[in-house]
Symmetry: D2
């Protein structure tokens, strides 16, 4: 297992869906960063999903900071946060524990852990483990904000319904915070909500695409070849279990573009170098160019569905039929938005601390 | 700069396009692995492109192994390989060195290196630096082959022309080796070659998509959360400067799929667990499930084109017009195929050595 | 801050002396390792010191495992352990918080954290933070034991009183577990206990030397140059704040030895290669040779003493006189023994997991 | 093998004693650092030893910089340096290749590499591999000097002859550069040279102790717990094969000291916090306090001696008698001084770049 990521600022994740508690340790954050408990809670709320489009598990998700914060600010030492597990209906899962749920990690985890893994509720592979990531990300987001860096994520598409794209620089991300499903266009949002409702009735699930923009990152950040901005961001984005694709700027559309259309021409505007288009998503040669960093993540449909599925019993080594019970989401793409913003913030605060030193985000006093 | 990647097996890359030499150090490879110089050379040939679809720079690309190989086998100590630079027409570049070539790293590198970077021919950001990666990858590919693991990459699409997909397990990757442009379908290959020729005549360039399959990786490999197979592969894939998108299995198509279609049902076949479909690209929860690992990379069109472009002079801070001269490719997607296979091999040999120990690839004698 | 160490098996440490809780996350341990809560508790007891030679802080040190353990065994996922802080007499410290205690981290931490650090009781620099290391180490010690690897540490000297050295292979480390001060020779132990009592009466403190032996590590382990066995062990040993010297085998005595005396002659004994002497401490060229790994650690006297000391007020930037109150140890060398064994175990389990794969310590079932 | 070390600034080492070439890649250095080829050469000369006290191997040690330097300054990209091997008398070694030289890595390397290692001249374990480290260190030393940081190393003792210690702050390290054996006291130097001559006549070898001081490092540097200054320095120091002990400040003498004597009282001098003594070697709690960083390294006697030794043939698994021929040093402690200073510089430039950002050592222009 590799549950630690980051160099100057690192994040260590732990916990199982039905264990005692889940949590995170964030290490290397500068001292003097304000901790905004209300903001952390509001981010956790977004992850839970605000309405009937989400799972019915009653997670209070009250987090507890054990270390690294003193008098409301970071001390510079590791911040450990835990969320106690409650309402864990373990009995739901025990019965089918040797049946590999298609699309889930049950079988691959069995191959890796030889049967010792905590199978209850997906164990360490549960989407619930993203909650501590959101706590860590909320702290990072606030620190980035103090340097004028903002991150927004919206549902770019779901099924065959598409939202509009972010517009460079001018976007007000806070508008997304009010929405149960973060879609920019009102009509598209309505259609997506209806689609998810429909899928729910069918006992099925649906995927989607998220688009993220980061505004305010200075140019000259990134450590190619191997720690290009794309490399570091994709590394942490693909840690989110549901993410199966990541593209920067024009991404897969580049395959149909000519260089003359794909190249982003540079221009001087108000004494600043900008590019007229942003097909490269703010990154050239793995280094930021000062334009917004823009990328999309493909989110697969939740594998947990109510429909009957073919599978195997991996202990008996025989075919089986599986009927999953319990609480399941018809879609997680809207809940994943805050997770994507969170890990993006964690990646950026690490990159910027490497580039500009461990005091870069320090609050005053230096 | 972070030019080292990997934990058990690491790769360190160095060199500039017009410097003395470029090269690579591969460390942590097991002892006793056969070094096949002819295979390495043939891989380098693939990277150069075999015909008139590629750049005209005469790179002899003769590599020299300085260490870590004794009596034709790896010793277990670091393998350093260099390729001397020849035919470096530096004068072509000096004239326009302060004009940011759109789509290139010139401006972002200037922001990072404050003008000290070697600007000649793209310096350390040149695609030429992929040559040592191919040497390292060739060694890794042979080691993987000794364990029954094979990697193939083909051009999946270019402009609006699509190839067929790899078929699970049954594909003979060696057929691709004979082709100047690695496309599975004969008709599609012909169309793609014609398209590239056309683009060349226009002085423009075109992008494409590569599909890669890895057959024979055992189940239970991967270190989630943060070193999921997707995380580690995407990290190194996005190190290739032209790669702007990576998707595993159904990837972005997941956004339109229902869980009931996306989930890969497991079945017992000949006493072995397999999945009926492979939408997850051989990876569940970041861990291999024994099915082929399948992913696609979006390759952007070469930014170097003959057409006149708007840009800025980043020293004078003023708008400028750029007309690039010198040698340029109309497409690099076919040349990038071997680079993608190479870094995939390097990533896998590292993952497998972590999982099964540093002697896993050792040749005999233990 | 870098509070994570290790590659295949990593340890992340967090907490402040007077914060909510302290703890540790151990990641990468193989699945199926037995968790022995009684052994963990007994190791924590050793760290506290069993008698009147130690601090009077009443730490119940009851640890709580939050994750990574299921049905009494490791799952293979991160194990998070916390110890809640109790009996924190913070008021003792607040008054003198801007006076740098000589020998402590107060001033250097102020320079690093700009005043945001939690000053109470030494904060993150408190010796108390070694408690979670001991928990992690206890788990590692048991895993190593299952492979026939044993670790013992005794007080080799204190002031001018010396113990005998470990004898190769034949030592029964469990005898040390019964002792309040782990000294091999009965007479030396009595003298050392008397010496510590005397120092206590004087309101002063005293240092010492620990000797550690590791028996049963196979030959061929270690990753030179930079991850030589000495490099990895010293790295983690010097993380213990009181350790200011580490030597392997003959160590500093090598400076007076001739090669003819220092070289350890090899011999065949019972079909096995052994060395007649062990001046190299079981390590040649950074790689284990199958002999016991033997090293010594210098432990400085506790900086907290009752005597009046000259210092500075680092806020007012002026000279000051300091009289420390509160609970202090006259010696910590005997309490540090279990900490040294613990971090040694953590280092070895990482090295062995890298060398032999992540399943090396897995309990059965494979 | 782990032949890469460092986080912001990393060093990758490669090569075998009798292979084609040895070398190093330094990555992450700031752009704009002056490269002083003469200084690099003079450092290599020191490593070779200037007189008849050293090996007679004729190493021209002419280094060649392949990348990362442009117009006499670092570019910010990886600097690869190679030294071609010459005068490699391989035949001397082949005859006895299966006899483990006592004190050498032959047997432990055989256990690790299963017989595939390059045995000639010690292969990758040869002291010769320190030459590229000295090249890398020379570049780092010059960069540190530009920030007012100086590093000096002298032979503190050899056999029973002791030099005086460095005096804080006031030492002129450049005086040591003129000496064939870097000893501060003239009389001690004469005695040590005589001692080494004597040992040489006897066909034996002798060890010694080096003392190093680093002046000018700002306070507040170091990343405890696990990347304490002592941890990072000892890690790289113990990579040098002959180093078997490292102590900081009073080191092992702490074992006999009371806290009241060991604690370094702080005082204000000229508005600056200094300590009256420096028993802690400039480091409190793993973080620099602004005083000189002072440490000692124990260097074992060269294992290669002319005297006949008992050993084993590790292929035949039988006892044997070994008589080593070829070129050997009676002492390497004086040659190791420059290696110790070099790795110290590499460690510090990494720590400082982490602390203050990757541009910290950048020459001008920012």
């Amino acid at each position: 297992m590799k549950n630690t990521i980051g160099q100057s600022v690192s994040v260590t994740l732990f916990g199982e869906s039905h264990g005692d508690a889940i949590g995170v340790v964030i290490d290397g954050l500068a001292p003097g960063i304000d901790i905004d408990n209300e903001f952390i809670s509001s981010q956790l709320e977004k992850r839970k999903g605000k309405n009937n489009l989400s799972t019915r598990r009653r997670e209070s998700d009250s987090f507890r900071i054990l270390s690294g914060v003193f008098e409301g600010k970071t001390t510079g030492t590791p911040i450990a946060v835990i969320i106690e597990n409650e309402d864990t209906k373990s009995k739901d899962y025990g019965k089918t524990k040797d049946l590999a749920r298609p699309g889930h990690a049950d079988y691959s985890a069995y191959c890796k852990y030889h049967g010792f893994q905590d199978y209850r509720g997906g164990g360490h592979f549960s989407g619930r483990i993203t909650a501590p990531l959101v706590v860590a990300g909320a702290i990072a987001l606030k620190a980035l904000e103090s340097k004028g860096i903002k991150i927004g994520t919206h549902v770019y598409s779901c099924a065959d319904i598409s939202d509009r794209s972010f517009e460079n620089f001018s976007e007000d991300f806070s508008l997304l915070d009010e929405l149960s499903v973060p879609v920019l266009d009102d009509e598209a949002r309505k259609l997506i909500e209806e689609k998810i409702e429909l899928i729910k009735c069918e006992g099925d699930s649906i995927g989607g695409i998220l688009e993220t923009a980061v505004i305010g990152v200075p140019s000259g950040v990134g450590e190619p070849w191997f720690d290009s901005v794309e490399s570091l961001l994709s590394h942490i984005l693909f840690s989110i279990p549901a993410v199966k694709g990541v593209e920067f700027g024009a991404g897969f559309n580049f395959s149909k573009m000519c260089g003359s259309a794909a190249n982003d021409s540079f221009r001087m505007v108000d004494g600043k170098v900008i590019s007229e288009t942003n097909n490269n998503g703010g990154i050239n040669g793995g280094i930021t160019n000062g334009m917004p960093i823009v990328f999309k993540c493909a989110v697969k449909p939740t594998p947990s569905i109510y429909k009957q599925q073919n599978t195997v019993d991996f202990i008996k080594n025989e075919n089986a039929v599986l009927q999953i019970k319990g609480r399941h989401d018809p879609a997680i793409v809207h809940r994943a938005a805050v997770v994507v913003s969170s890990v993006t913030a964690l990646c950026l605060i690490d990159m910027l601390s490497q580039r500009f030193g461990t005091d870069y985000f320090c609050g005053g006093k230096i």
